[in-house]
Symmetry: C2
Subunit: 427 residues, 2 copies
């Protein structure tokens, strides 16, 4: 796949117009909050914040750093001073317009972030200004200040870095729900996960190791194997005949297959299940083959998926399912499972049973470069955007103690020497 990306524009292009004063049309809630505030006679001049905006669907040059009016929290919302944002493969698909319901552009990008509670909207209880939180947002998360519904906001321990916190929700919620809510993982079982070096892949590996005697198979690009091999029992090359390799080790197959590839890998995954095995589709990265949307790749990936006859599943004692976290949260409005699961996960983090693996951190202006790295499958673990950072990307400090008062003011990690960070970021 990396070989197919030669035609993509250099990542620098994406950030050629940083701090452009052009403002995207203010969206509903923020605009309303601004209007509500307007009639007040002593109102100070409106402040602006920096944000990452998708100006239209396409390549990296469609992603721009812009300024917008500071949002205010509506009723039931929490205003968060953002210290770190998570980048997901989904953001690449959004950029390409490769979704069933793509957003209206211009739109502030991003689905997850972490930071400090700056203000509480009317009716919000259970949170205090100054608390450290992570948040899920239905787009809009890549901004210095974000207002999110309280039900999608979670207090984090003070010792959890903002980078860990921003890397946490989408990857670990997805991994946990697939393994335990759908896959019903128990001791002695085996799991296969693709993109083993990505955020979900490494979260799956860590969660599997919280259960006794679980065998974890993964597929990943060759250059990642050395770095991630400690997390997996068996690693295979992406694009290789992994089913044959797995059958050599476990002739009867595997108990749980977690598939973010789709296409023919869906058919392979279902065929690879043991009796009582469970297959879960949670992405379709096979449809992304270049910088911009390819109708051919999309069509090929969908067409290659064989439909499944429930009677065959009955004959074979198999289960096939799919999981889409954001669909569950925003279209299906089911926050309860997410809230329960997040509580469990934060508890596991507090007990040092899981910890996000972070590949590298990037300034807002470097978002294009970060996206290209993910597209090229060069990241090992999570890519983080840091709104307080200069243009020089870096790797995370070793779990900095964010309980320090200075860090509450948003200064954490900035002391990481750029040269050292640069070196560590290279794999």
């Amino acid at each position: 796949m990396p070989g197919e990306t030669a035609e993509t524009a250099p990542a620098e292009n994406a950030t050629s117009q940083p701090e452009e004063p052009e403002k995207p049309a203010a969206d509903g809630e923020a605009a309303k909050a601004a209007e509500d505030a307007a009639p007040e006679p002593e109102a100070p001049p409106e402040k602006e914040v920096r944000t990452v905006v998708l100006s239209g669907f396409g390549g990296i040059n469609k992603v721009k750093v812009m300024r917008r009016t500071e949002p205010k929290p509506a009723e039931g919302e929490i205003l968060v001073r953002v210290k770190a944002c998570g980048l997901n493969f989904l953001d690449l698909m959004v950029r390409q317009g490769n979704l069933e319901n793509p957003p209206k552009c211009p739109a502030v990008m991003g689905y997850e972030c972490a930071g400090i509670v700056e203000a509480l909207g009317e009716g919000v209880t259970g949170f205090e200004v100054g608390a450290h939180v992570l948040a899920l947002s239905n787009l809009g998360a890549w901004c210095e200040l974000v207002s999110v519904p309280a039900k999608h906001c979670f207090q984090i321990p003070m010792r959890m870095s903002f980078e860990d916190a921003a890397a946490f929700p989408i990857n670990f919620l997805t991994a946990y729900i697939m393994l335990f809510e759908i896959g019903n993982l128990k001791k002695g079982k085996s799991v296969l996960v693709h993109s083993a070096g990505g955020g979900v892949g490494l979260a799956v590996a860590q969660l599997c190791k919280t259960v006794e005697n679980v065998t974890v198979f993964g597929t990943a690009s060759p250059h990642k194997h050395d770095t991630i091999k400690e997390h997996f029992d068996h690693l295979f090359l992406s694009g290789s005949d992994y089913t044959a390799e797995i059958r050599k080790i476990s002739p009867s197959g595997v108990d749980i297959v977690l598939d973010c590839l789709c296409g023919d890998d869906t058919n392979k995954g279902i065929a690879l299940l043991k009796p009582m095995g469970k297959y879960v589709l949670y992405g379709s990265s096979n449809i992304v083959t270049g910088e911009t949307r390819s109708f051919f790749s999309s069509a090929k990936a969908w067409w290659q998926v064989d439909k499944v006859n429930p009677v065959k599943l009955y004959d074979e004692n198999k289960t096939v399912g799919g999981f889409q976290l954001l669909r569950l949260l925003y279209d299906q409005n089911q926050p309860e499972l997410i809230q329960e699961t997040m509580a469990t996960l934060l508890d596991m983090f507090a007990n040092d049973r899981i910890k996000p693996v972070i590949d590298s951190c990037w300034a807002f202006e470097e978002v294009g470069e970060a996206m290209q790295k993910m597209h090229d499958h060069q990241n090992i673990g999570k890519l983080i955007l840091d709104p307080g950072m200069d243009k020089t990307h870096k790797t995370p400090a070793e779990t900095p103690d964010t309980s320090d008062a200075d860090e509450v003011k948003g200064q954490q990690n900035e002391e990481t020497p750029p040269a050292e960070a640069e070196a560590a970021a290279k794999e």
Copy 2:
């Protein structure tokens, strides 16, 4: 469905030749055991036992009570003196030859029984002669003496009646594995089960009630509603527009659908799932519409099942699976899950959290009548065959104390006055 059975032969025909001395060809193990015993000079004459044999595929008249040589336990097997046998819908399908791999006829019928350990084959540990057990058998269970692999045999508490024990394994294992291993049932969830008045349906209802605040929907024939309504939150008529009725109560649908009907009910069940919902196919009773196999009914039921696109499951956060207990045990050779689950279930029984509902007990000679009752959906709970019983069927005594020495000799329950039993068996 009951209306479609008018052409079936009267049940009495099935038992018109009881105790026929005709012997089925002795099958492998029993024959071998008999040969091994033969050369011994002082060997007593071979004893015979009564058994229910399928002479060929078709209607009730193909099921005959016959005598065969007493089996002897092979290595790793346990010889059980059978006191009660379970009748399942699957037995009707076997009789019709309505399976992918139908057995060779003549064949001793039956998949489950309970009784007393009579002898242990070589290498068997953990069991003692005289212990009460229940057993799963890959056919062959409807016989006065059965030899089964020790791994499919489970010791039962002395206070568990043989009828309860014979009613227990297939229904409760199926219900438990579907609810907890595939469906991942948790508090606050909702479950739909068809054939709510049958053995699995009532086991599902009881197991659901062991979890806090679970809503149980069922479909059943109208005449069963009064008797089973205590077990269900909402009951609908078989064949009614139950999905519309359920949507009135729960607009978003249900969390778990357990479907033994197949055909168009499969499509309805999948459509009825909530986000994160799980559908499990565990039977295809819609294909049985008359006394003998109907190719039209089979074809219709299979053709009506829509194939499922995994991408749609991903879009909708749904899971579709199937479960076939006997396939898991015998074709896929996975006894571990069964063993663990049986231990859990027997513990639940010992703590009075679950108890099989028994419709009625029947003599071997009445097997045709019992099959017809099941075919006509007239049973509420389990139909039991009792090899020690006269031709008069009866309802079970109230959990008789089988620890009594007399009962070990196979006399339990025979004191139930036939008239009273007959009355109670009528719904």
